[in-house]
């Protein structure tokens, strides 16, 4: 740290990152790496990247590329050949777990990204424009928000059918109100800042004010929500599969469904069918929660400083 103080006037000596948003996120992450929040975030990021790696290279990583049933003997305990054993229809558990990472991340990405793409701009608009439009949007979003998440997703999934994309859509509906609310409340507080009034005085049009002046501040809360809702999305997707409302039966990997299948075997000592997919869900959601909580601790002081 000390050695980097080359500019004697200003001690903040981290490299300038051109994208202001990323810069505002990455600088504190680097600076705070030794604090608890920083460690949590980095740990969460590590776990997330680990799963992304597995998901991307799943075809190369799986020991048994075939996913058909009865390719191997059924219900074998973990061994050198099947590190996590095989399930009741003779599929390699490790392979299913690896494919499952891909499925989970796909659903998560679809669900959360669409929620962000809809919730953020709508929240921004609602907060900035105010008035009747705002009231109507808040009413709609709040009624969705008030609905139990899993129930709502199950309902939608039942209507639009199975498949990775459909489940992603079903989940998105739960999180749109979340992004909407967070963005709207940020917008409401930033809207009254003098620099926003200054932008209006400079002659900026509404959309310029919204995107160049307000969105910058409103977006800073998003990474936190993004991580936390991702964790939640993994759980919801697994929950849907567990209830049998999730993916097609021939999906190469589906943690929630595997858990559901394993349920009847726990009693007879076949632990590997449930423990491994269950562990994956726990690790990934805990990792994402770490990231979310860590970022929250790091970013919020910055928000506070920027406000004061």
């Amino acid at each position: 740290m000390k050695a980097k103080h080359s500019d004697p006037k200003r001690a903040s000596s981290l490299p300038e990152i051109p994208l202001p948003f990323l810069g505002r996120l990455i600088h504190p992450l680097i600076r705070e790496r030794r604090s608890l929040a920083g460690a949590l975030s980095w740990m969460g990021l590590g776990i997330l990247f680990f799963f992304i790696f597995i998901a991307v290279f799943a075809p190369l990583l799986v020991p048994f590329s075939q996913t058909q049933p009865f390719a191997s003997p059924v219900l074998q305990a973990p061994s050198l050949q099947h590190l996590m054993g095989t399930d009741n229809v003779g599929r390699d558990v490790l392979s299913r777990v690896i494919w499952g990472a891909r499925t989970s991340l796909e659903i998560m990405a679809i669900g959360v990204l669409i929620a962000l793409a809809v919730g953020f701009p709508v929240g921004l608009l609602s907060g900035y424009v105010g008035g009747k439009i705002d009231r109507l949007l808040v009413l709609i979003m709040d009624s969705i928000y008030a609905f139990p998440g899993l129930l709502l997703a199950a309902l939608i999934a039942a209507v639009i059918g199975r498949g990775v994309f459909n489940i992603g859509i079903a989940i998105t509906v739960i999180y749109i109100p979340l992004y909407f609310r967070v963005t709207r409340s940020q917008t409401l507080s930033v809207r009254e800042e003098p620099y926003v009034e200054a932008a209006r005085a400079l002659g900026a049009k509404s959309h310029t004010v919204m995107f160049s002046y307000i969105a910058h501040s409103a977006i800073i809360a998003i990474p936190v929500i993004f991580s936390l809702s991702s964790a939640d999305a993994i759980l919801t997707a697994a929950g849907l599969s567990y209830l049998g409302l999730g993916l097609e039966v021939d999906t190469p990997g589906d943690w929630g469904r595997d858990l559901s299948d394993a349920q009847s075997f726990i009693g007879v000592g076949i632990w590997w069918m449930s423990v491994f997919p269950g562990l994956m869900i726990v690790i990934l959601t805990v990792g994402l929660s770490f990231l979310g909580e860590g970022l929250n601790d790091i970013i919020n002081p910055i928000l506070r400083k920027e406000r004061s």
Partner: protein, 324 residues
């Protein structure tokens, strides 16, 4: 005019130093400050943003943030405030040393009536009956020109000036020996500011209370202070009787600061070149040297000692003699 009399001081800081640990390093908020406040005197502490004047106020009250490291002493009634435990400090604070803030709403709880505030303050320090406490509270309020019928009102039901007067009444209800006022009138309008300053002066006369007035407004200092301490970047630049400071300043910073004041008599503007230093890496030697028009190489190398040039008039400048 109160002369500096080292025997009758109420509070004395000796080589008092406060550093803050920050993420970017250690900030030298105050460095080896030595000054004292006599009984019944008003000491003005002036300085710009980052001069350390608010740190001084916090230190005197024992409310420095946890990232502060302290050395040196602040002697009050024979004991060193920096070594007292929290309980003792709490007993002194409010009862003997009281504070009034810049913004009254930071001290007043919006959910409590004015009477509740008083009762809490009084009962924290004295074991007297509620009735007695109530009558003391009413008395204090009336002495500030606020009708006692309003004692059950909430803070938001008062105007800004009245809130400030309520705060002063709160600070004074226990008749402290020392009142620390940190920018007490900055958020007020000029007329109300004058009213408050007048009240403070009257109180001082009546109670023989000492007042530590921290401000950036030199006009106020000239009007109410007996002595003045000028802080620059955490160091004491000059200390002396108010007339000496205003009419015969020694330190180049004091002179520059005085000439930068815009008053009704101002005919031309003066400012100080450069900007205040970063307290994480304060300049070597005299901290003012990068901005000082008279700086020589010695100013860069050696820290100037605080020298008494006239009775009670100290300055920390290598060339103090030439500015006499």
């Amino acid at each position: 005019m109160i002369q500096t009399n080292t025997d009758s001081f109420l509070l004395k800081a000796h080589d008092f130093t406060v550093h803050y640990k920050t993420r970017r390093g250690e900030a030298h908020a105050l460095d080896e400050i030595s000054l004292e406040i006599a009984q019944g005197e008003t000491l003005g502490v002036v300085g710009e943003t980052g001069s350390g004047k608010s740190t001084l106020a916090k230190a005197v009250l024992g409310v420095l943030p946890p990232n502060a490291t302290v050395s040196g002493q602040i002697i009050y009634h024979g004991s060193d405030l920096t070594h007292l435990n929290d309980d003792t400090l709490r007993r002194i604070r409010g009862k003997e040393i009281a504070l009034i803030f810049q913004d009254p709403m930071t001290r007043l709880n919006p959910l409590m009536t004015i009477e509740d505030h008083f009762l809490e303050e009084i009962q924290a320090h004295e074991s007297i009956s509620v009735e007695e406490a109530r009558s003391r509270a009413r008395e204090a309020l009336v002495s500030m020109g606020i009708h006692e019928s309003r004692i059950r009102n909430y803070p938001h039901e008062f105007s800004g000036g009245m809130r400030q007067r309520i705060m002063i009444a709160l600070a004074l209800v226990l008749k402290p020996f020392l009142l620390v006022a940190d920018e007490p009138t900055t958020s007020l309008d000029v007329i109300v500011e004058s009213q408050i300053l007048e009240i403070l002066q009257d109180l001082r006369r009546v109670y023989k209370m000492s007042l530590l007035l921290i401000t950036h407004n030199l006009g106020i200092v000239a009007e109410v202070c007996d002595r003045v301490a000028v802080l620059y970047a955490g160091k004491l630049a000059e200390l002396g009787p108010v007339r000496d400071i205003f009419h015969r300043p020694i330190h180049p910073y004091t002179r520059a600061l005085l000439s930068s004041v815009i008053s009704l008599e101002t005919k031309e503007l003066h400012s100080i070149e450069g900007s205040p230093p970063d307290l994480l890496i304060p300049p070597s030697g005299c901290r003012f040297h990068p901005r000082c028009p008279y700086a020589q190489s010695i100013c860069k190398e050696n820290v100037p000692p605080l020298v008494e040039y006239r009775p009670g008039h100290f300055a920390a400048c290598h060339f103090g003699d030439t500015f006499l």
